[in-house]
Every structure is written in C-alpha cells, then in structure tokens.
C-alpha cells in the first residue's frame, strides 16, 4: 500500500533562514510526487511536482525539491524563508498518469506546519 510520512509536525524558523521539510514515501510503482501548500483558511495550492527526469525540481515561490529514489524521499527546500511562507505543507504521492485503474488518486502525508519568526 502506498503511504507518505512527514516526520516533522511543526517547524519554526527565523525569517531569512533556510528551510527543509522532509517527506518519505512508499509506492509500488513509479511515483508521481507533489508538494502542496495551504495558507490559513485556504485550499491547497500546488508548489511543485516530480514525475521523471531531473531529480531537482523547481516550483513557485522560490521552492525546490529533490527526489532521491534510494532514500524514498522528496524533501522540500527554500534558501531564505519569508514571513509569508508560514503555512501548512503537504507532501503527496500518486500515479504518474491520471487515467488507468488508480484514477489519479493521491495519498497525502500528515502535513508540516511552518511558523516563521521575524
């Protein structure tokens, strides 16, 4: 069965500091990996996704993530955090294609809440 683990429930960083949010996954086939961000009271917004190719992917808002197959990880990074990055971040795994018998269903991690201190 597929699963996603985000080991850190809550992370606090100072504005301007670097950030790394961890994500480990278990998936039987070639995974399609996502990071979503949820600002307070809002829906989920896609930050970035990985399907194949270059293992370092760039997303919106200056975020990047690195896929490491040997470690089953897809950690999210940002070199310098801004106060507006305070939000909850979700890692998700699913099939590469929307069609097929998996019907594009995603499995989400528990989420990591990011607090940014001025």
């Amino acid at each position: 069965a597929q699963s996603v683990t985000q080991p850190d429930i809550h992370i606090t960083v100072s504005e301007g500091a670097s950030l790394e949010l961890r994500c480990n996954y278990s998936y039987g086939a070639t995974p399609y990996l996502f990071w979503y961000v949820q600002s307070p009271g809002q829906g989920l917004q896609l930050l970035l996704k990985y399907f194949s190719g270059d293992t370092l992917v760039q997303g919106i808002k200056g975020f990047e993530a690195e896929f490491k197959r040997s470690q089953s990880s897809f950690n999210l990074r940002k070199p310098s955090v801004h106060w507006s990055d305070a939000a909850e971040y979700f890692c998700a795994v699913g099939p590469a294609k929307a069609g097929g018998t998996s019907y594009g269903k995603l499995t989400f991690g528990q989420g990591t809440i990011l607090t940014v201190h001025p």
Binding site: G43, L44, L46, A98, Q110
Partner: protein
C-alpha cells in the same frame, strides 16, 4: 474561469441533521474527489468520481454519499450528522488524460454539535 468552487464556506449542524456540500468545477475535468482534513491527519479520500454517473468509495466513505449527474457538479451528502464528521472538506478535480494534477476548492468547514 473560477476553477473549483465549494459552498458553503462554513456550517454548523446539530447531531442527526443532514446537509449537502456543493462542489462545482468549470474546467471540464472528468475526475473529481472529496477529501476531509483533520488536524495532524492530512487529507483522507472520502469518495471520487471518474465521470458523470460513476462514483466509488475512497478511504473513509462511511456516513457520506455522493452523486455525479453532470461533469461539473459533485455534491457530498451527510445524512445523519455525527460529531466525528466535524472536519474541513475539500473538493478537487483533475483531467483524465495526461499528467496527474489535482486542483482544489477553498474548502467547507463543518462543525457538528
């Protein structure tokens, strides 16, 4: 192009009451999904639909029902509300072809007292 819209934004129900959470998308997506979000639990899939007239259970379907009479609409029905259904509900949609990417609505915060 409004994307995925959900109504209402907030609702308080009494135990045993029923209600329908509305979800509409204007992107002509075949696939639609309902999730619930509980603190520290991430998102859990309740039901999904692969097209008009076709629905199936997700991970946590008990206490809910869905229908899909059109491509655009995918309402979620709670028949006998229970405190365990207090949660934030998200609707999402995606294309059937190409890469897998889901688009989310803003959510409905439901409290059952």
């Amino acid at each position: 192009n409004a994307g995925v819209t959900q109504t209402p934004k907030f609702r308080i129900l009494k135990i045993g009451q029923s209600m329908t959470l509305q979800c509409t998308q204007d992107m002509n997506h075949n696939y639609m999904y309902w999730y619930r979000q509980d603190p520290g639990m991430g998102l859990k899939l309740i039901y999904y639909s692969v097209g008009a007239g076709i629905t199936d259970k997700g991970e946590v379907p008990n206490g809910y029902n869905v229908s899909r009479s059109t491509t655009e609409d995918f309402p979620l029905r709670l028949e006998l509300a229970a405190p365990s259904q207090t949660s934030v509900y998200f609707c999402a949609s995606s294309y059937v072809e190409g890469v897998n990417e889901q688009f989310f609505g803003p959510g409905t915060r439901l409290t059952v007292l």
